[in-house]
């Protein structure tokens, strides 16, 4: 048995496919992306890279659109936390008592999560259509809140927030399920005794239930923050980073700088920035969640 478990040929053979694919198409490219950020490239195949030192990073830090993008991604993360976690967890707690028909509600709440992101984003574009062609404007008009309606995705005050609401709508059910799983995992007798014991029960809520949910909250926070950093699709589809770059986040800015403006050097610097930020966030969050167990 021991010989089997340390048979070099088997080990190498079985690891090889995964190792090669992962190395060639994820690890090497990410290192290249760091390397690229010290070079300028006009985006034309056949033209060699030109070494420019730290120029791309200096340009990036001086670039107004980049400042907006970084501000936006933090706004995106924070507002998503503030919307998704209270509502998602609130709903999970309501469902946690297994009221009649809870399955129906749970299914409905989770539905947006399974929708393809492109389709969901386009639906929200229809909802946010300007003037009285938009569903939201029509709704507001019918209850007398507005006459002409707003251009939700254009106004610098509402554009990003409108995307955030759409994103929260899409992701909220996910955190509802995480919370629900955590609550459903609490043994019944704890809940029962909490109901019977009065003051003592309240203590149990504080000391047993809240900590259990708290673990789930930590997971949700990490997922939302990292998800926000990686987010590309919903902004690409709903606003294309516009109007005039106001709703860009680093990942969309990177795409537009490289693949629309042909500033590949600057794009690579932003790539490197995103990569470093996400390593940083992941490490911090792994530390925070070390107690976490893995469940299936």
């Amino acid at each position: 048995m021991e010989r089997f478990r340390s048979d070099k040929r088997i080990i190498i053979l079985f690891l090889l496919p995964a190792f090669m694919i992962y190395l060639a198409l994820a690890v090497i490219p990410i290192i290249q992306s760091l390397y690229f950020s010290f070079f300028e490239w006009p985006g034309i195949q056949g033209i060699p890279l030109e070494y420019v030192g730290l120029k791309n990073f200096i340009n990036m830090l001086k670039y107004g659109d980049f400042h907006i993008a970084v501000k936006n991604v933090f706004q995106f993360a924070i507002l998503n936390l503030l919307i998704q976690i209270p509502i998602g967890y609130g709903l999970a707690i309501l469902l946690g008592g297994f009221p009649k028909g809870y399955r129906l509600f749970k299914t409905a709440f989770f539905c947006p999560v399974v929708l393809p992101l492109t389709a969901a984003s386009l639906l929200w574009v229809f909802i946010y259509f300007p003037n009285v062609t938009g569903v939201l404007n029509l709704l507001l008009k019918s209850i007398g809140l507005t006459e002409t309606g707003k251009a939700w995705l254009l106004d610098s005050g509402t554009a990003l927030n409108s995307v955030i609401v759409a994103n929260a709508w899409k992701g909220l059910g996910y955190h509802m399920i995480i919370a629900f799983a955590a609550i459903a995992g609490i043994p019944n007798y704890i809940l029962e005794s909490a109901e019977i014991d009065g003051a003592l029960g309240f203590k149990k809520v504080r000391h047993i239930i809240i900590p259990i949910i708290w673990e789930a909250v930590k997971i949700s926070v990490v997922l939302i923050v990292i998800g926000s950093m990686k987010n590309f699709d919903i902004i690409f589809i709903m606003t294309e980073g516009g109007p005039n770059g106001l709703t860009n986040v680093p990942s969309t800015l990177l795409y537009y700088e490289a693949f629309q403006y042909e500033n590949y050097g600057l794009g690579s610097a932003i790539s490197a920035f995103i990569f470093l930020i996400s390593i940083l966030l992941s490490t911090v969050s792994m530390r925070a969640m070390r107690r976490e167990k893995i469940e299936y």
């Binding site: 090497i28 985006g43 060699p48 107004g64 254009l154 109007p243 490289a258």
Partner: protein, 462 residues
């Protein structure tokens, strides 16, 4: 494994990766891109171009075309029929039409094509001066040899090829083939004008402001513009720039003799903002795209529109065709010297500079077919496109009033220009100028917009 050993191991793996990564990117980069690897999904046609070149006509070739002739663009049916017809006549040629109409998606295809060395065989590049570097790097083909085909060449209007003569920019040769000429005029709804008591079309901007007020009085949106398609506002600004500061100004901006922050350029932007503030456009027009704009004009919610000759086909298909008239873009009384400056330009295609053998031949045959007499006559007949050829037999073709409207402008314009970014070597300027213009309409001041655009230039030239 203990911790320190693990670290050593990770370091080793990392160094290995860095070495491979650097080796892959660092070494030269001069290799010619290989032939397309055909995807697993459809593997039926192999490239047989390598076989032999003795008998090119007998060889099979697959060519890919990337144009804006798709979706709601009026030329789409003619384009698609032409492709079919060409394949029928040349059974050895297979044409893959990859055209997309929407500007952002189109640009994405071009830019990723450039980056990955996967350009189609025929395509349209935005801008003009920004193409020079593509010409230098052999991405686009010098078509001067084609111009020796007299039968094909002699039919073109004088000078339509000159736009793509890059000799002044240091690359010898011609890099584009004109397939149409375009001009832009104001279209207006005669009935709505009459209803508002407007007797004559405006010649100066002051008269235009008057018209805008009168139209607003009868509850009609004066001017249709779907600025979410950013080129719509960009085109209005082209005209305002040329009428206020002349076409040469755009060229000077491109050669960096002038700056976007110069007072007259800022003023041209301010004129656009002024139009908005006068209520020329619909509420929230920045959030509507060209498609919605068309609907608004054709459903008579809006009375005017600035559009190019490529739009004639759309007008002819609309319900209000009889009511549509044209007038030249008004000029500023203060600037009579620029009265006859305006927007008109040839529209052209570029050919891939890396083609060989049967593919090259097939692509050349196709572009000659598309710009040849037969198709060009068809384009005039069916969608009244202004042709780049003078040798067309237009007898029996009923030319619309709009065709004449656009054609007359062509003759009126003494100094003509295209998009203002055409003269700029920076490819980013197309998006930069248009985005900043929309940003200005949404609240920035003209000065801020001008500075944004100038910053883009300064960022590059450091």
């Amino acid at each position: 494994m203990n911790k320190s050993k693990m670290k050593v191991f990770l370091c080793l793996v990392l160094t290995l990766c860095i070495a491979i990564g650097v080796a892959l990117t660092g070494c030269g980069g001069r290799d010619e891109p290989k032939e397309d690897v055909k995807p697993g999904a459809d593997n039926n046609e192999k490239d047989e171009t390598q076989d032999n070149k003795d008998n090119i006509k007998e060889e099979k070739a697959t060519i890919r075309l990337l144009t804006r002739f798709s979706g709601t663009e009026a030329a789409t049916p003619v384009w698609q029929e032409a492709i079919k017809e060409f394949m029928k006549r040349n059974p050895n040629v297979k044409i893959v039409d990859e055209s997309v109409n929407q500007e952002a998606a189109y640009n994405n295809k071009i830019k990723t094509g450039l980056a990955t060395g996967n350009m189609p065989h025929l395509f349209r590049l935005a801008g003009v001066v920004s193409q020079v570097k593509h010409a230098k790097n052999g991405i686009i083909m010098d078509i001067a040899p084609l111009m020796e085909d007299e039968e094909w060449m002699n039919g073109f209007f004088e000078g339509v090829f000159e736009t793509w003569n890059f000799e002044p920019y240091g690359v010898k040769g011609y890099y584009g083939i004109p397939h149409a000429v375009a001009s832009e005029v104001m279209l207006y709804n005669k009935e709505l004008f009459a209803k508002a008591g407007i007797e004559k079309t405006p010649e100066t901007m002051d008269e235009l402001y008057d018209v805008i007020d009168k139209l607003k009085d009868i509850g009609v949106t004066p001017w249709a513009c779907g600025a979410k398609s950013t080129w719509r506002a960009g085109h209005i600004h082209n005209y305002l720039l040329y009428k206020w500061a002349g076409v040469q100004k755009a060229i000077d901006l491109g050669t960096r003799k002038a700056k976007w922050t110069d007072p007259d350029v800022v003023q041209s932007l301010a004129h656009l903002k002024d139009l908005k503030e006068r209520g020329a456009f619909m509420e929230n027009f920045e959030g509507m795209d060209h498609d919605m704009e068309k609907v608004q004009f054709f459903s008579e919610q809006c009375a005017m529109m600035l559009n190019g000759s490529w739009f004639i086909g759309d007008c002819m298909n609309s319900d209000i065709y009889d009511k549509i008239g044209t007038f030249p873009f008004p000029y500023f009384k203060e600037k009579p010297e620029y009265r006859y400056h305006g927007v008109s330009f040839p529209l052209g295609f570029s050919l891939n500079g890396k083609m060989e053998g049967a593919e090259k031949q097939a692509t050349i045959d196709f572009i000659k077919f598309w710009t040849g007499k037969e198709i060009q006559e068809k384009l005039v007949k069916e969608i009244q496109r202004l042709s780049s050829r003078k040798d067309l037999n237009l007898e029996g073709i009923e030319l619309s009033k709009l065709y004449h409207g656009y054609n007359d402008i062509l003759k009126d314009i003494k100094v003509s220009g295209g998009d203002s970014f055409n003269y700029d070597p920076l490819p980013a300027m197309q998006n930069r100028t248009r985005n900043s213009i929309v940003g200005m309409l949404l609240g920035n001041s003209p000065e801020e917009a001008a500075k944004e655009i100038q910053d883009e230039i300064d960022k590059q030239s450091e």
